[in-house]
Subunit: 169 residues, 2 copies
Amino acid sequence: MAEAPAPQGGSSLLFLTDEQLRKGIEAMFFAYRGFTADPDRILEGREMGRAHHRAIHFIHRSPGTTVSNLMALLGVTKQSLNRVLRALIAAGLVEARVGRRDRRERHLYLTREGAALERELSDAQRERMRAAYRTAGPVAVAGFRQVLEAMMDEESRRQYEALAGRGGQ
Amino acid sequence: MAEAPAPQGGSSLLFLTDEQLRKGIEAMFFAYRGFTADPDRILEGREMGRAHHRAIHFIHRSPGTTVSNLMALLGVTKQSLNRVLRALIAAGLVEARVGRRDRRERHLYLTREGAALERELSDAQRERMRAAYRTAGPVAVAGFRQVLEAMMDEESRRQYEALAGRGGQ
DNA sequence: CTTGGAATGTCAACAAGGCTGACGTATTGT
DNA sequence: ACAATACGTCAGCCTTGTTGACATTCCAAG
């Protein structure tokens, strides 16, 4: 199972065979299922879905972000996002404040209850991530992130790095 | 596996901080978007979606598989899968042969046209994967797969390994 | 000042693709 | 003969994406 590919004479490109690539593709498919399973389960009871989770996550990450920002980040239309936001606001999880400088904008914030749900969701997801990280070890984790970053398209990578730069590290 | 985690004083669990985990979570989100982008684009013109892609992929991987098998693999209901299969059969991409031993079963195969489409889809997806792998290098790729495997839930890991064992390597 | 264009956000209607429930049909095994 | 299995289908619902139409707000040109 995935041993380091023996630094023999040439550059040993055995890790680029179709077979290896296919395995990576299937690993992404099955892993993503696990990745979303816990939050999905939590939200099931609350009449919400994955779309709500994503919105909550990024509002938590960037408090005061506008609808347009969130739209670009999530890669959905404003109409689609709007439905989700309406539900979150109705449920008292998100607050939309009219912009002071530009009153067309709505700045989004989690309420106390919204923050609590965010905690619950991200705790569950982080727990699975933590277990996977611990099992695989720090070197594997570094590789994991490298490959994922290389897999993003240009636009996503920009967004990812903008978030990463802000959050810390 | 178990790489030595930087043998400084303590056990150096810095890679397990909430911040690192959050980055991993966001990396998964953005990378998965890239992962599915190319096939989605190809299928757009053909009145098909991601669901059809998944079915085609696994029928290609396991020619002759039954409807029940595919259901379990994809994690969807038979009604949901049936809609997809009906479309694929109507489009002449998939053939369903009545089982010889058990004539209740339908064994699924790609037709010549189905195989051609599968090629087109997997070429696109593999190409992105190959680029990411090449950029990140073999050590990173090994780590990538380790973390993904650790992230799957039990059932998915079983399925993943069953496929991997069959395909080669 | 006013007016038109651009940005922003909302409402309505529709499609894809999940789901459950109920039922029919062929086939198999007891 | 009968129960269980594998599959197909109809009907209806939900979530989450889409487009189109429209209201509000801002800004810049006349």
